[in-house]
């Protein structure tokens, strides 16, 4: 790894840590209702890489991001909002309106041009079709735009996803990149118990290029996400841990959507502090 890349990785690690701190802080906003914490923590590195390095920007204030990002797994909203904050798209004050009654940043994202949110999500299985439309539209206009769509592995249960997978391969949307957050858990338990899928074989069989990486390893993620377009659309299957970064949440589906107590909050913060000390 050269020095420049090493510096970028250090920067991205700090970004990821800042994102996790904000996720844990904002999780308290859910109060007794709780929030989606686990699915936000599993995508932190993916989003840190996308907003920190991968998505290309055009000049402007606030920055105009030329490439498109679609969060199809809308329950990752908290991870998304904190990434948008780190990217300078939304202020801390705005971020702090997360899950406030009547606010613009509820538990699932709502399209918001000012905040750089291209797509409303929540219902699973709708993001890849929209991303395919964006990719096709960009190609028709001869625009150099790449479209990244982040899906959950549980989300792949939805048949509509596979309609889009077929379409993108048929239309040769080489400017489209799907990312699967393979954390192995969905609402009712392990993905292998609920509806087992051979994810790589399925995408490959549907005509996509498939890359697999550790979804918390920044170097692996950057390599997978920045690979130049080939002759097919590309899927990056990112192996992740639901609840990553907080020991009592990791791999524990109770934290798919849960209420964070004050005591648990302090423990989580202490763990992130320890992690920060180790990294520095």
């Amino acid at each position: 790894m050269n020095t420049m890349t090493a510096n970028h990785i250090i920067q991205l690690k700090q970004t990821a840590l800042a994102m996790r701190r904000n996720i844990i802080r904002l999780a308290l906003h859910g109060g007794n209702n709780g929030v989606h914490i686990g699915p936000a923590l599993s995508i932190v590195e993916i989003l840190a890489c996308l907003y920190g390095e991968v998505l290309r920007r055009d000049a402007g204030t606030p920055p105009v991001i030329r490439d498109k990002f679609i969060l199809s797994k809308g329950h990752g909203a908290l991870g998304y909002y904190v990434a948008l904050h780190e990217a300078g798209m939304i202020s801390l004050e705005t971020l702090n309106t997360y899950e406030k009654n009547g606010g613009d940043f509820p538990g699932q994202p709502v399209k918001n041009a000012a905040a750089g949110i291209e797509f409303s999500s929540g219902t699973l299985g709708l993001g890849l079709a929209f991303g395919a439309g964006l990719a096709l539209g960009a190609r028709k206009l001869d625009r150099d735009t790449r479209v990244y769509v982040l899906l959950g592995d549980g989300e792949l249960n939805e048949g509509s996803v596979w309609e889009s997978v077929m379409f993108a391969a048929h239309a040769k949307l080489t400017n489209l990149v799907a990312i699967v957050d393979r954390n192995g858990l969905q609402s009712d338990g392990c993905t292998r118990d609920v509806l087992a899928l051979d994810i790589e074989a399925m995408w490959r069989g549907f005509g996509w290029e498939v890359a697999v990486c550790d979804g918390h390893d920044l170097e692996q993620l950057l390599e997978a996400l920045q690979a130049g377009p080939g002759g097919k659309p590309r899927v990056v299957v990112a192996n992740t841990i639901k609840g990553k970064g907080v020991s009592f949440m990791e791999g524990n589906n109770a934290w798919h959507h849960n209420r964070l107590t004050a005591e648990q909050h302090l423990r989580a913060v202490a763990e992130l502090d320890a992690w920060a000390a180790l990294e520095s």
């Binding site: 409303s120 219902t123 709708l126 079709a129 929209f130 395919a132 439309g133 964006l134 077929m166």
Partner: protein, 320 residues
């Protein structure tokens, strides 16, 4: 705009699908942003003309209506004006959540076109009838619903949709050799009903394929000394409430639609007049609940009471 008699005859001969295909191809000449999407129904939906004229602007999404709407939404977000087309039942029912999400909630500028609405699919049977499409889509916010009465109105609606920003569902009913309602140019505005006939006793508000038989029914009623006004409610949503309220002094208000009596035009008007004082009773004519035994198009209209003589008879019965 001057439409020739030949145009009007051609639209009638082509029916709603063919006419839409001609209209969209013409509109695409002026508006480079227009794209057409089909869910493997290009050849049966009158879009072959469009595909021949603009092969790079036609997208076949395959038999996958849900994805088609998402792709259309992404294209709309990029600045295109996509017309996503399929049979009305698939548009409204198979892809219902997609309509809510991309067109209603996100308000992407997608024009959804439902072919073969009502009983147009005849012997294809109940699976291909669209008798619930308006009911399913009318409660989706931000969506305009247009149901043209004949070929000229399809042309006008297509042009109006193309230049109006916002999601629209265009409901196309009827079959080839369709009756002609409009023989000369008139003012078409989305959301404004067209008054076609005055009459002091009964007011018939019809939409789509039922406008023509309603006019014929009014003639039959006249022969019995009953004056029937007829209005073409081509836009079901947003409803032209003022056009409905014009009829508050009539003895009877009647709605006629080739759609279930639940949730369509009749229901929309019932909702509108419910809080108003001193309104005449409302007779809603349409398709009664149930799945009828299948027949060809004229047969289906006959057994469901949606022909001019049956409409007139039911109105006379209600007045008696």
């Amino acid at each position: 705009m001057n439409y020739s008699k030949q145009d009007i005859r051609m639209w009638s001969m082509l029916g709603s699908r063919g006419t839409f295909g001609v209209a969209l191809t013409d509109a695409a000449r002026l508006n480079q942003g227009i794209l057409a999407l089909s869910a493997d129904l290009c050849n049966t939906s009158g879009l072959d003309r469009f595909r021949s004229a603009y092969p790079t602007r036609f997208i076949n999404a395959g038999i996958a209506e849900q994805n088609m709407l998402g792709v259309a939404a992404g294209l709309a977000a990029t600045g295109f004006v996509p017309f996503a087309t399929t049979f009305a039942n698939f548009a409204a029912l198979r892809a219902c959540e997609q309509v809510r999400h991309y067109l209603g909630y996100m308000q992407e500028n997608v024009k959804l076109v439902g072919f073969g609405a009502g009983f147009a699919m005849g012997m294809f049977g109940v699976t291909h009838f669209a008798l619930e499409d308006v009911a399913a889509l009318r409660s989706i916010s931000n969506l305009t619903i247009i149901s043209p009465a004949d070929g000229m109105e399809i042309v006008k609606a297509t042009n109006a949709m193309a230049v109006t920003c916002g999601p629209v569902y265009l409901r196309l009913a009827g079959v080839a050799n369709a009756p002609i309602v409009y023989t000369e140019d008139y003012d078409f505005t989305i959301g404004k009903a067209v008054s076609l006939r005055e009459g002091k006793d009964v007011a018939i508000i019809a939409t789509g394929s039922m406008v023509h038989p309603s006019l014929k029914a009014a003639e039959l009623l006249a022969s019995h000394g009953i004056g029937a006004a007829v209005a073409d409610m081509h836009t079901i949503k947003p409803l032209d409430g003022a056009a409905v309220e014009r009829f508050m002094n009539h003895q009877l208000l009647v709605t006629v639609e080739e759609h279930s009596v639940m949730g369509g035009l009749g229901t929309a008007i019932a909702e509108h007049i419910a809080p108003l004082r001193n309104f005449p009773p409302l007779l809603r004519l349409g398709v009664a609940p149930g799945y009828p035994h299948v027949g060809d198009y004229p047969y289906m209209l006959e057994v469901c009471g949606l022909t001019a003589p049956k409409i007139a008879d039911r109105i006379r019965l209600a007045l008696a």
